[in-house]
Assembly symmetry: C2
Homo-oligomer: 445 residues x 2
Amino acid sequence: MSLSDFFEPEGIAVVGASATPGKLGNDAMSNVEAADTEVYPVNPSSSGTVYGYEFVDSVAEADADVALLCVPRHLQPEVLEECGEAGIGAAVIFAGGFAEMGGEGRELQDAVADVAAEYDITVLGPNTAGYALPHRNLYGSFVPRIRDVGAGNVGIVAQSAGVAITASFHLTREGYGISAMFGLGNRVNTEFSDVIPELDADPKTDSIVLHVEGTDDAEELFEACREADTPVAAFKVGENEVSEFVRAHTAAPAQKNELYEEAFDRAGVVSVDSTTALVDAGRALADSPTPDGPNVGLVTAQAGPGIIVADHLDGVGANFPELTAETRERLDEVLPGITYEENPVDTGRPMPEFGRVVDIVARDDNVDIVSVYEIYEDSLGYPVEELATLAEEVDKPVLFTVAGPAHAFEDERRQMEAAGIPTFDTPERGAQAVAALIESIPDEE
Amino acid sequence: MSLSDFFEPEGIAVVGASATPGKLGNDAMSNVEAADTEVYPVNPSSSGTVYGYEFVDSVAEADADVALLCVPRHLQPEVLEECGEAGIGAAVIFAGGFAEMGGEGRELQDAVADVAAEYDITVLGPNTAGYALPHRNLYGSFVPRIRDVGAGNVGIVAQSAGVAITASFHLTREGYGISAMFGLGNRVNTEFSDVIPELDADPKTDSIVLHVEGTDDAEELFEACREADTPVAAFKVGENEVSEFVRAHTAAPAQKNELYEEAFDRAGVVSVDSTTALVDAGRALADSPTPDGPNVGLVTAQAGPGIIVADHLDGVGANFPELTAETRERLDEVLPGITYEENPVDTGRPMPEFGRVVDIVARDDNVDIVSVYEIYEDSLGYPVEELATLAEEVDKPVLFTVAGPAHAFEDERRQMEAAGIPTFDTPERGAQAVAALIESIPDEE
């Protein structure tokens, strides 16, 4: 069993494809129609074409590696068997009503599992919205407009496809994207521990973010994280008493969050507690080198928001080291009588020298990570050139928190990111991103 | 002493006005030039006009109630005295370098305080970026493009003007706005307790949000909150060890956060711990009725994000009551075999009946607040009509968390808000907004 068919399918069969807009089998067709491979709409009651592809009567007529199963739940074991007979290696089961329902649903899922084992089919789901690989233009999902999700370098593996989709659109709305998105659903035979190594090996994936409700496969999950070279962040849901709702969702066992957080910590995984913190940790881990230590040089053009950043960071194990005598001398040359030249360094207002101040602090030997806060002013702009040079010459994370009018976010913010300076748009998001980097530092052996 | 001059000035003097772009006195002119009142650029070394207004040599020649002082700090006592002689009732001192510097700065601030007392001048600052009243087109600030900040119903009172500006632009970028923004800075004679009653009386202000670093005037602050009819939320910064940076910023005394949180709680103020939570609490409190109790009816179209919302809410004292037998019957009629018809109610996917499901849950007598989560799908849209009717007929908070592609956020999301349904764009922001409403419920006497 392997996930590789999902990544490079020679042909995709959409079983239960439909020409009727709004039907699951039509939504799925609308997403795969642009894939770089042949697509086979399978439906014995339909003829003609849908999205330019001719209907076939059965999967046996489809020269496909992957099948998207858009048929009702009761038909799944039978249809999956047909897929097996046709040599299909990987299938996505969208339908719900399996183990998460208990009773007869559990039996149905067992039947699916048996067929999958017999024919060695990798099954994503059931009870999932599928997967997406934007770099390959591959959207194996029924979610309308999932093709809007852009290509990026964060890989998402979520127990709930709804969370994966929420996070994927969130990253896209903010101008980023994903390398991969897998919604696991009920995990009949595709678990976190199966997907993580694939994304670890994927050259487009620079960080992996996990949404976990609970899994019987927890030890394998931790092991996969430990073995991954790619940095991993995880959001384990269920801090409080929502286990019954969770079980009814993806048939997840009730498990204590603490156990996960400790094990994640031992496995070098960054733990977060919201979807926003998850996407931000993903971006920070993907776009920054791992810092050598927790020593933050904080540079602010407005002290108030800077204090908020410092306050958050102080609570997550950041250290604000003294700057070296040399750094202080250099700061004094650039800005005699600077508002606050301890660390945090506060310039009091944006000024033409701001980029130079960031550069000086970043080159301080006592500083492992640089966190910057500046409200945008038109007449000064952001110090894009200085930061581009800095990112090229200094191998430390430099994270920039932006604020100000909307238009400021479009141009120079994007230039900074293109130059290797990740940006965040509120004091707390900027702080959380730095916190994720600090948490990603390997523990001393 | 009164703040009323700031709200309805008959004439504004910009002392130290300049025709040179980039200068403080030019930035301030660029912001007040469109005000509905006469503007007097004051500068004895300049002649001609700036932004269409003729320079005058001294404040004595300005028929003004408000002065924006754009001169260096050492000149402030002298210039303020001239303002007093000219009958000006209110002044903003932008310059820093006063009490927050200690020593000679403290003496300079004392001198300013003496002049202000002698002439009964209300002074905002020193060490502030000023104030803004978008409904009156009044921007008494040097911050470039602060006129981009839109008119809304959240009033911001911040110890740090940098935080006030950050929050104002944040609300504006997301399509909202503010009724007022006051940056207090060093609070020479204008404190939280002076501004809060003004905003409480302001018909454009439906909620007041505070950013607090620390103040000697804490008891008066709590009293002002207690007496306000307008709901108040507060972000007290300084959870951790940043007191030295705080003192060096706005001369704030070091004070324990716990004291504030307890006192805020007794005064009926909602405490939050980030700028995002502050603006979201402001919006929720401004746009929703106060709930009768903490009983949340949660309706989700995707269970995964719904569980995240439930998990957050469970941690902040929300209760998920059983739905009445009548409600369950009605749900069963609309959606036989609904995925999860306990509370939370999960429909599993968006569907045409979703708005009807929200409506049924909202009308349940056991439910005080309705929280909804739905990823947008083009073919279904959001249930705008049902929610508009609901908001008209049922006097309970109904908060909607949106997700999906960017274009979905522009149209129907805005229609829902226009109909009285506040929206939020991540599971945690939606949950925090509900949490703020629960915290705003008056304690039983």
